[in-house]
């Protein structure tokens, strides 16, 4: 952070919409959060995996001795958010006279909860009008997210993906995130590593944005800082409550930062790869990230000190000579991403990605990037990631 890099000369815009409640007894704050939104009867949406882990029981316990009645716990969600389930949940919502939605879990659960919220608040039977570009009028019903250890990076964004089609709208921000160590534990090392890889990619993107925005930096900084210290412990011990809570915090903040900064090159490439191969986004990003960071190191693009500060901490940052900080920041971020290999495949080859897919993926990504990078650059990153050759 030298004077020239933090002094903004351009206009900037910033919004961090959701409220975050995190820590001991956070779940027990749910009744108050509902009451603050004039809601007494939430519909809980969750996945089979979450219910299997007994997390719904913990959630119900948190409502003991409160004035809240849980309208229903809708728990058949798998790893896909589809309109038919959204319609079922919406019917439950209106049948029981609910007035708020709680999403217990991450990824598809949150996407489904957002979809249900649109259906019930806008009194629609399908999402079809919104796919066709009709804006969501809003405001929607209160939506509270209680994340589990698995995240797809879209939770804190004003967007949702239902039936593999994305809808973006300001109204889709969840109102509150309630993070509690009892719920944020991971299922398995690979599941934590995937969520971590997504958060890492998002925080990295926000901190390497070309146009400096001090508020986005301030939001992404704690995210990367927490990941640097807790991601590896959380991957090694998915049931560790402190580490799990820290990574879940980082994931929410990274997602919110990304909502401001826009998706970066790594993300676009990861999404293109995931779409072409059917491999999960987390795995793709986990493999691609070290190579994408390596490519950035070799390019002449300037990198701000904010990255180094977040990943190295105050003490570490101050100990590095000023001119080496941008490079060192990239190096440390890449090292952090490489550590995920303990739980994720090391290369695209190990994932059994067909080599001939790399060219079309590179082209698709370059097209989506709107001129920010070329297909050749993408292809180079993919090539190295395929062989795991930095």
């Amino acid at each position: 952070m030298n004077p020239t890099s933090t002094q903004t000369t351009e206009n900037f815009e910033f919004l961090f919409y959701p409220k975050v409640v995190s820590g001991q007894c956070a779940l027990e704050n749910l009744p108050t959060e509902l009451a603050g939104n004039d809601a007494q009867k939430p519909l809980v949406i969750t996945s089979q995996a979450v219910a299997r882990n007994g997390l719904t029981k913990i959630l119900v316990k948190a409502f003991y001795d409160s004035a809240v009645v849980i309208g229903a716990i809708y728990d058949p969600v798998l790893d896909y958010a589809g309109i038919s389930q959204a319609q079922q949940a919406a019917r439950l919502f209106s049948e029981r006279g609910c007035d708020a939605i709680i999403a217990l879990g991450g990824g598809p659960v949150v996407a489904l909860a957002k979809a249900v919220n649109v259906l019930v608040s806008e009194r629609q039977a399908t999402l079809q009008p919104y796919y066709n570009g009709t804006p969501i009028a809003g405001p929607l019903k209160p939506l509270i997210v209680v994340p589990s250890g698995a995240s797809d990076g879209q939770e804190a964004m004003p967007a949702m993906t239902v039936d593999n089609r994305a809808i973006a709208s300001e109204s889709l921000y969840p109102g509150v995130f309630v993070l509690d160590g009892r719920v944020t534990i991971g299922d398995s090392p690979s599941c934590v590593a995937e969520s971590g890889a997504i958060a890492l990619a998002q925080a990295f993107t926000a901190l390497t944005m070309e146009a400096p925005n001090p508020m986005i930096d301030a939001l992404a900084h704690p995210s990367l800082d927490l990941l640097a210290r807790y991601l590896l412990p959380a991957v090694r011990r998915p049931k560790d409550k402190a580490a799990g809570l820290a990574v879940a915090n980082a994931a929410v903040l990274a997602s919110a930062a990304c909502a401001n900064s826009g998706t970066g090159s790594v993300f676009v490439l990861g999404e293109a790869l995931a779409a072409a191969t059917g491999v999960s986004l987390g795995k793709c990003l986990g493999i691609l990230l070290p190579f994408a960071i390596g490519a950035l190191r070799q390019s002449s693009r300037p990198v701000r000190d904010a990255l180094c500060l977040a990943v190295a901490g105050l003490e570490g940052f101050a100990a590095i000579p000023a001119q080496e900080r941008p490079n060192k920041g990239l190096e440390m971020a890449a090292a952090l991403a490489r550590e995920l290999k303990v739980a994720l495949p090391a290369s695209l080859q190990a994932l059994r990605v067909q080599h001939h897919l790399l060219d079309p993926v590179a082209q698709a990504a370059a097209q989506k990037s709107a001129g920010r990078f070329t297909a050749a650059e993408c292809r180079a990153i993919l090539g190295r990631a395929w062989e795991a050759n930095a």
Partner: protein, 409 residues
């Protein structure tokens, strides 16, 4: 940046910052389906020509419903009710507040009555009375210091009962904060100094008080860095638009930090001397800040030491052994006050005895210090200070601050 055992954080205020930020208001209001805003402000702001500047920047895209510029310094609920009537009579659908703390609080109050109905604000007193979204509220701060554009509480007086009513609700957070350096360009040097030190205090206290969390830390660090890098320059060259913008950004970020992590004894003392002796808030903050840090060294020395990083820069931070950092932080802040004192030709006071009113008389007589020490018990900021702070502890602090002597341990 350790994750605390518990924290909550909320700043759902869209922030627009930049040299041409004002011009974007019509577009943003359009996104919130509003086109007919009422401007709430005070006479001082109007006299400085700032209301005209805003209206000019809004251009033709927006029809101003009404301009209410009668907000007094200590706003009460009658003003709010009055303004709400004006709002209704003119069929407005949003509020633009231009001013400092009092104006912003009044606008929040007007928004409650105007959005939720009824004739008077008194109907919404108490915790949790406001639990529905309100009409769009745009805030244009004109002092880079208070950070009220980022807080969720409205403080409004009830002169009949002689109390200050608090209206805390997340729905009172403004929808849009517009940070434009043109709004602070005409601020005189001593006010620039004291309001910036107010923001500095917000950030420092957010960093070491009880509810600190990674997010408030991050915002606080950046705010401190911006102020420490720019304040002296701006005081010396008031027309520096980029410096002004940096200070205004810092003030907003400090506002985000402290509204989510609470403040401590510096504010406790500041509120008390403000209420009893009418010392301007920013002035009190700049004087008490070094004492607040010194007093809390026992429990929070490590955390206070970290402040050297944003204050003096990473190189100085690295060159100072960990043990010596807290003392350096305090010395640095004292030095800043000295430099500001010199740069404003003595208008920025360094100790309580140097504070004078308009007529040149001393605002804080020494004999009043024991009374002030007793009165600190009436302020909530005492509770979030890391170290216990009682009247018996406050008196020596006040005496030293009066003389301008370090506390010493």
């Amino acid at each position: 940046m350790l994750l605390p055992s518990f924290y909550d954080f909320c700043c759902r205020v869209r922030t627009l910052s930049g040299i041409n930020a004002l011009e974007q208001i019509p577009m943003q209001l359009g996104r919130m389906h509003a086109s007919h805003p009422m401007i709430v402000s005070d006479k001082g702001v109007g006299a400085a020509g700032l209301i005209d500047k805003v209206i000019q920047a809004l251009g033709d895209g927006l029809k101003i419903g009404a301009v209410y510029d009668q907000v007094p310094v200590d706003s009460d609920y009658k003003v709010v009710d009055d303004a709400a009537k004006v709002y209704r009579r003119n069929g407005c659908d949003a509020i633009i507040a231009i001013g400092g703390g009092s104006v912003i609080d009044t606008a929040k109050g007007v928004n409650i009555v105007a959005s939720l109905g009824g004739d008077t604000l008194l109907a919404y007193e108490g915790f949790g009375a406001v639990k529905h979204p309100l009409r769009p509220l745009v805030v244009v701060p004109t002092t880079a210091g208070t950070g009220s554009e980022m807080t969720l509480v409205a403080v409004i007086a009830d002169p009949d009962r002689k109390i200050k009513m608090l209206f805390p609700s997340y729905f009172l957070l403004p929808d849009l904060a517009v940070i434009d350096p043109r709004m602070t360009l005409t601020l005189p040097d001593f006010l620039t100094a004291s309001t910036a030190m107010d923001a500095m205090t917000h950030a420092c206290e957010a960093y070491f008080c009880l509810e600190k969390n990674p997010l408030s830390d991050s915002f606080a660090l950046r705010a401190i860095q911006l102020i420490s890098q720019n304040l002296l320059n701006v005081v010396k060259t008031p027309g520096d638009l980029h410096g002004r913008l940096a200070l205004a950004n810092a003030s907003a970020m400090a506002g985000i930090a402290f509204s989510n992590s609470m403040v401590g004894m510096v504010h406790n003392l500041g509120h008390t001397v403000g209420a009893l002796c009418h010392v301007p808030h920013g002035v009190a903050m700049s004087i008490f800040l070094p004492y607040g840090l010194e007093y809390n060294l026992g429990k929070s020395a490590d955390v206070i030491g970290e402040l050297l990083f944003p204050l003096a820069g990473p190189e100085a931070f690295h060159a100072t052994p960990k043990k010596e950092r807290p003392a350096k932080v305090i010395a640095h802040l004292r030095q800043m006050n000295e430099a500001l004192h010199a740069a404003t030709q003595g208008k920025h006071p360094r100790c309580l005895k140097e504070i004078t009113g308009r007529d040149g008389a001393q605002l804080v007589p020494r004999t009043l210090l024991p009374v002030i020490a007793e009165a600190i018990m009436l302020d909530g900021a005492r509770l979030t200070n890391p170290e216990e702070f009682l009247p018996a502890d406050a008196l020596p602090v006040l005496e030293r601050a009066w003389e301008g002597m370090p506390l010493g341990h």
